[in-house]
């Protein structure tokens, strides 16, 4: 089962949270409900056979992507694994391009070439969207290396699931991060299950997964992800360490996914967790509800105003599905585009010799 970590109080008073204006706080809410609405709509259309492949949904974990990414500045970068829709929307990608990608359309963020697991927006410092578990962990390290090499004060936030911590590349990345003093923040979004295998059945650990970082002399923390105030306050420490000391951090953020690993087990057909457990998380640890309570308690918004935001998010999601439906599929010729930079850019190198071997 998922790690039960109680949220710590008083994070609302952290300096980074004191900087939030009422509008900022409403925007955080809007971002979370936009992610949720997008995912609900995408599930509906997945079930309606409008898209292929897998659909790994993020519902229940929204506060992690929204809270951490809300801290980032112009030289901070993000990379994640295959459960990537939430992070994509949080960095500012549009619902239209994200939904169209799921539908395999030319208007998708990857022109229909990547699909659900492979969203990218380098113009927003978002480097994917990676399908192989932990395959992105050395890339996140490389982003940090690039920042340091160029003399920029920034951080690379590299997200991974609790199932990724047992891959060799993650450990190699931790060693290199500490050895080279790189400004990378590894964020383990621990939702308790690597696919259908619980943390207890997949990982050997002493107190938690992030503690493994101590073996590499890397600072680490474990905390609850359900309250954005806490996510922001504690992630900010890691970002400042990256910015000011060029040192890595491993954060383990306890969270919970409401739906299946993918839609294949969305009705909990795997039997690896109980209905009661899921319902308890939904009732007691819903990050959207937690944040909503903050907003109401602080008098920032009324129930009616929040409902309006929910409705707007749902409308936006519905419109994105319409946009996706009405968009064209990519042309067959596009199969050979975006393979080689030199070919796409019609350079001398791209015209020299044969690059494709279809006949």
């Amino acid at each position: 089962m998922a790690t039960a970590i109680a949220p710590s109080a008083k994070h609302a008073d952290a300096p980074i949270n004191q900087k939030l204006t009422p509008q900022d706080k409403l925007d955080l809410h809007r971002q979370m409900v936009r992610i949720r609405a997008f995912e609900q709509l995408s599930l509906q259309h997945y079930v309606g056979n409008k898209m292929a492949g897998f659909l790994h949904l993020y519902i229940g974990q929204e506060s992690v992507a929204v809270g951490t990414i809300s801290l980032l500045g112009k030289n901070d970068h993000v990379i994640t694994a295959y459960r990537d829709h939430g992070h994509a929307l949080a960095v500012g990608m549009s619902m239209n391009e994200c939904m169209a990608e799921l539908f395999g359309k030319a208007t998708g963020c990857s022109k229909g070439k990547g699909g659900s697991m492979h969203y990218f927006a380098p113009d927003k410092n978002y480097w994917g969207g990676h399908g192989i578990v932990a395959g992105q962990t050395p890339l996140g390290l490389g982003l940090a290396y690039g920042l340091k090499y160029k003399g920029l004060k920034g951080a690379a936030l590299c997200f991974l699931g609790d199932g990724a911590v047992n891959q060799g590349t993650f450990h190699e990345s931790l060693n290199l991060a500490a050895l080279f003093n790189l400004p990378v923040v590894y964020i383990i979004e621990n939702n308790g299950y690597s696919m259908g295998t619980s943390q207890e059945r997949s990982s050997a650990f002493k107190s938690c997964l992030a503690e493994r970082a101590s073996g590499y002399d890397i600072e680490w923390e474990l905390f609850s992800g359900e309250d954005i105030y806490e996510v922001r306050a504690r992630t900010q420490v890691a970002i400042e360490r990256a910015h000011n000391e060029s040192r890595p951090t491993v954060l383990e953020i306890a969270t919970y996914r409401w739906l299946g690993h993918s839609v294949a087990d969305s009705s909990h057909s795997g039997g690896y967790r109980t209905k009661e457990e899921i319902e308890r998380h939904q009732a007691e640890h819903d990050p959207v509800e937690v944040w909503k309570r903050n907003l109401l308690a602080e008098g920032i918004a009324t129930e009616a105003e929040l409902k309006k935001i929910d409705k707007e998010a749902f409308t936006e999601a519905e419109e994105s599905a319409e946009f996706a439906k009405n968009s064209p599929y990519p042309e067959p010729e596009s199969i050979f585009e975006d393979v080689y930079w030199e070919v796409d850019n019609k350079t001398d190198s791209g015209r020299s010799g044969r690059h494709f071997f279809n006949d």
């Binding site: 990857s110 990547g114 990676h130 590349t169 060693n175 975006d338």
Partner: protein, 331 residues
């Protein structure tokens, strides 16, 4: 007298010149800096360029190759050494899925200007794990470029092109060639002041009329020896084509030669199954079938894992006499 330098020194000149030209170029790998390179290809560069540009990594290929790929997405131009190309297997996911496919999966938003380089050859008594020749495997992935220079001049000119290329380049050298001397012009002897050899342009290393020997990497040298024997002992004039780059591929030079000689043999140090020669033989029969007077032949490494025992390892790889015998069977 024309300048002669080794294959190793030619590569080092290319690195040195590109390090000077572009501050984003960084050399990384196991023992490349303070140790001067396991095969001394990077000798003296750390002393000259320092810690930032020449970087020793731990033995952690998946980690550091992946790190280089990530850095290349941000515009750094890493030249990553695999001490042996044989170690590509431990960095496989990073090389194939990340360097090779991130451009495509991002719809062209990202590119990886990275060079992954090192020796890819057998014949040195190090057994099967250290004797892989994965050029055919790498070339089977669209998105990859694969370069196999057979001599010092090409090694320098192609390496400079590789470092400037904006796609991932798999650059395969040979420990058996590192110490060999070749004529390599100095910069003041070449037009434009530097030696640059484009990708996708094969080189006719020896002209001939009776038979086309096609090869890449060290097998080109073996072909040249076989061509000498064929002419001296049998009066057969073999043309030797050095592909230089396998992907992109210069098919025109091959097809024009076969149209002239009507016979072709592909020679490579890789294994026969799905080898580079399999692709070339297909292309020849598909494009110039009517020009052929005999089936296209192949000479490859004998089809078993690389054997250790020195005398047997020697005959497992292509050698001039086998090429001569194969030539006589079709001439």
């Amino acid at each position: 007298m024309p300048r002669q330098i080794t294959y190793r020194d030619a590569l080092r000149e290319a690195f040195d010149e590109e390090l000077a030209r572009d501050p984003m170029v960084v050399l990384m790998g196991e023992e490349v800096a303070q140790y001067n390179g396991a095969y001394k290809v990077t000798k003296g560069l750390w002393e000259k360029w320092g810690d930032k540009r020449i970087v020793d990594t731990p033995i952690s290929e998946a980690g550091f190759i992946g790190m280089g790929i990530g850095a290349s997405m941000l515009g750094v131009r890493p030249v990553m050494e695999l001490m042996f190309w044989s170690f590509y297997t431990v960095a496989w996911d990073q090389i194939i899925n990340n360097a090779g496919m991130v451009r495509y999966m991002s719809g062209g938003k990202i590119n990886c200007p990275i060079v992954i380089r090192g020796p890819a050859n057998g014949g040195t008594g190090v057994g099967a794990t250290h004797s892989h020749t994965p050029e055919n495997i790498m070339a089977s992935f669209p998105g990859m470029k694969v370069v196999c220079p057979s001599n010092a001049r090409d090694a320098k000119g192609l390496m400079k092109t590789a470092i400037r290329d904006n796609d991932p380049v798999m650059f395969m050298e040979s420990t058996a060639l590192y110490g060999e001397l070749w004529e390599v012009p100095s910069n003041d002897e070449v037009p434009g002041g530097e030696l640059i050899i484009p990708f996708g342009v094969a080189d006719i290393k020896r002209a001939g009329t009776d038979l086309t020997l096609i090869a890449h990497g060290r097998a080109v040298i073996t072909c040249l020896k076989a061509a000498e024997m064929l002419e001296a002992e049998h009066g057969i004039k073999a043309e030797v084509i050095d592909l230089r780059t396998i992907r992109p591929l210069d098919e025109d030079t091959i097809l024009e030669s076969v149209a002239k000689t009507h016979r072709a043999i592909y020679v490579e140090e890789g294994k026969p199954f799905c080898g580079v020669g399999a692709q070339i033989a297909y292309t020849i029969q598909n494009k110039v079938f009517d020009e052929l007077d005999a089936p296209v032949q192949r000479v490859c490494s004998l089809d078993a894992p690389a054997i250790y025992s020195p005398p047997l390892e020697k005959i497992q790889l292509p050698y001039p006499e086998v090429i001569v015998a194969k030539a006589l069977s079709i001439c």
